[in-house]
Structure formats: C-alpha cells, structure tokens
Amino acid sequence: MTQFMQFISDNLLLIYLLIFTVILGFEVISKVPTVLHTPLMSGANAISGVIIIGAIILIRRSASDDYFSLILGAIAIALGMINVVGGFAVTDRMLEMFKKKKK
C-alpha cells in the first residue's frame, strides 16, 4: 500500500497527463459523422505508428554489436514506418475523394 501511494506521488504529473489525454481524446472524436468513420480510423491508425519512436530509441541505445536488438529494432522500425507512411497516404487518398465531390 505504501508502495502504491509512493508510486502515485512520484508520478502525479504523468497520471494527470494520462487522464486528461483520455478525456481530450473522447471529446475531440465523440461527434464524428458516419462519412468520416473510415478516414478517422485509418488516420488514427497511422498515428498509432508513433510507436516507431520507441524503435528508434531502442536502436540508438543499443551497442553496435548487439545484433539481437539491432535486427529486431530495424524490423520494428520498418513495420512502424509502413504503418505511418501507408496509413497517412491512404487516408489522404480517401479524403481527396471526399473533397472532389464537394463542388
């Protein structure tokens, strides 16, 4: 219990950040029209590729002969990058179609 309390006090700012981001996320997206469900999903999906930053940090931290981390890290970067670039590009393609018909 003391440990738990200690954890809360040590990470108070982080806990604030977590809670407010959740609230913000729900608020920002709550009233999205049906027509945008797919682009929103694929755009959000591209944002989840932010995990690539973790892979970059992993590789930068590794020793240059630690092939286990380097190979897995490079695979992770490639996968993350497909998610990011593919996700944003595909979303843009979809939204371009929505734009065209507005005139």
Partner: protein, 459 residues
Amino acid sequence: MIFTTIVDIAYLIGAILFVWGLRLLSSPDSARKGNTLAAIGMAIGIAGSLCDNRIDGEGNYVWIAGGIVLGATIGWLVAKKIKMTDMPQMVSVFNGLGGACAAILSIVELSTVSLDTGGKVISLFALLIGCVAFTGSMLAYLKLDGKIWDSQVTWPKHNIINQFLLIIVLGMFTYLAMTNASNTLLIAFLVLCLFYGWSFVAPIGGADMPVVISLLNSFTGLSAAAAGLIYDNNLMLVGGILVGASGTILTVLMCQAMNRSLFNVLIGGFSAAGGAAQGADDQVAKTTSAVDASILLYYSQSVMFVPGYGLAVAQAQKALKELDDTLEANGVDVKYAIHPVAGRMPGHMNVLLAEADVPYPKLLDLDDANAALPSTDVVVIVGANDVVNPAAVDDPTSSIYGMPVLNVWDAKHVIVLKRSMSPGYAGIQNQLFFHEKTKMFFGDAKDSIQSLLSEVKNL
C-alpha cells in the same frame, strides 16, 4: 541543455498536432488538412527522436535509416496501389503491423533489461496487446480478403476455449510480472499471446467485422501508449492514448448501431438459434427481369439505393453511380440509404460511394432514410441483407430482434439484387425476400446493375 529543450518542444508540438489533426479529421471540410497536420506532427516527432541527445549509445544510424527507407517505400507503394474496395483489408494490415512493432519492442525490453515490477507490468501489457492486435488484425485481413472463412477457424465451443486461453494468459502475465522468469517462459508467453489474438478474432466475422476492426485499432493505440511509458516518451503516450480513445468510440458506435453489447459481439456473433428460417421452405420469392425492373425504375419519382457488402465484393459502385446519373437525367430523384454497419468497416459504404463520385448530400443516414422511405417509390437493395431484415422489428424470437434496421418495406416497391437466396452473415432467413412488395433480381451486383443500366438507356 538548449538542444534538449528544443527536442522536448518538438515532442510537444508533435502532440499538439496529433490532437489538432484528429479534431479536424472529425469534420468533412477540414479532414484532409487534419490528416496532413497529424502527419507533420509525426515527422517532427520522428526527427526529435533521431537527434535527442539524452539517448546514450552508439547511434547505429545505418540500421535506423535502413528500417525507415524500407518501411516508407513499402508503405507508400502499397498505399498508392491499393484499390478502394480493398480498404478494410489494408487498414487491418497496417494496424496489425503497428501491433507487431509494439510486441517486438516489449520483447526486446523484457529480455535484455532488468525491470522493476511496474516496468514489467507495462512491458508485458504492451506485449500482450501488441500480439493480440497483430495476429487478430492479420486474421481479420485474411477473412476480409476472402482467403479464410469463419467456419474454417471456428472450433466447437470456441467461446469456452477463448475464456480458458484468457485465464492462462492472465495467469502467465501475473507470474512473469512477479518473478524473474527465464527467457524460455517469455517466449512461451509471446507464442501464447499471438495464438490468443488469432483465436480471439476467429469466431467473430461478417457483420461484426466493423466492431472488431475498431477494437483492434484501439488495442494498437494502447500498446503504443504503454510503449511510451516504457521509453518515457510523452509523444508516444499521447498519440497512443488518442488512438485508443478514438478506437473505443468507434467500437461503441458500431455496437450501438447493432443494438448489442461489446461482450455479446466478442463471444461470437449472432447465435444461429432463435426464430431462424421458420417456414421459409414453403415460401416462394418473386423474381423480376432486367426489363421489368428498369421500367419500374424509369417511371418512378424517387429511388433509394441500399448498398451493402455485396456492393464492395462486386465492385459495383461505379456502375451504380452511372445508373444513378441516368435515372437523374430522366427526372428520377435518387438517394442512398447508408446503415452504420453496412459493409465490413465503419463508414465502408461512404468510402466506396465517394470513390464513384456520389455527392455527399445524396447519402442518408439511418434516421433520415427511414423518414424518407414511406414516400419512396422504389428501393433497390444492392448486396445488403441483415440491415434490411424485418425480423429485427417484428420477430422477438429472432437473434437480431431490436437491431435498428432500414424499414425498406415502407416504400412502394423493393427490388433486391442478390446472388442467391442464401441468408446473410447472421444466418437468418430474411422475410423481406418473401414480402409482397419485394421482387428478387438474381445475379452478381455489378452485372445486374449494368443490365438495368442498359435497359434504362433503351427506354
């Protein structure tokens, strides 16, 4: 010191651009700009992580560059080449790769760094969610692409197997978090999680696909957020949580559209029990011909198309738009009724019709369509089934009873374009096909629409 602050500011700007981008993404006028902003935010974040001088190590930039170039090239090519009808598959694959990325990071973290209990719990969580998102999305892709059928991957008592698997997963999770377990056990946990993801999605299919895709999307977000905690990176944390929230909202919306709880969807779709197929055998559906149907369309004042997954399968959206144009040119008012769960991902029909240049105001949502249906002359159902099943309204024994549907029987005539009399995903016979107002027009949706089109043009 100053440089470190600049990197921190870059992360902050990245996070703000994510939020702002998502906000713009939720309105049709600004959506494209929103997507661009989020992409810029991502680029700034990646640049920040590349030059953050707090990271000690040997750099290994060649490895990073290799991964980035490879991934960016593949992602770009796939995104440019993919057909719009294959969009649900594509989103699933991209999503699965994000999950795989999270799983790889956490397995490296768990096997090379000695973590405290908190760190282990977070890493194991990222591993579990990432694995489930990965194999789950890949199975969703295979199902959507028609490479695997639900019946091939669903075992008897699948729900019980899944619950049993979940208990083992959680048990191992706890054990691994509490002890300094060997790498062998860790690998076993990895394999188990991957298998669980597959098994988790296996019994869910067909009309429930939009729910499961948004749920997996939110899982990938959560795994990115957990990885953000591991690497102490606020941009990853914020980005991940935003995606988790948006995925959760879409999941809830999809469940509401079917009037079912998430739990109900997850334990394996519509049960075939209930008042299925009652008395269907002795009923005869009326059929119609291209000539009769086209005359009916040509001389009506208002027509409403109801697209469903069959439209996507037949890739008939452009033919449909051409029929729409021809009818409009002859003074027929044409509208489209879009059910929230029509198709296999949230908003699937909207994307297809946008590709065919159907103007946005012609698409009616569930409530508007139901209000307009009583004054509609002809409804043409293109590959939709469960979303127009009257059993949802008038048969309390049916397993889809209570699901909001399009009341197409309120219109004067109903034409159903369908390949055969087989029931929809729910496995329930559709009494609409035997309704006095209904005429069936059998055939591939695209061929049927094209034959209607040529007949209308001849009139």
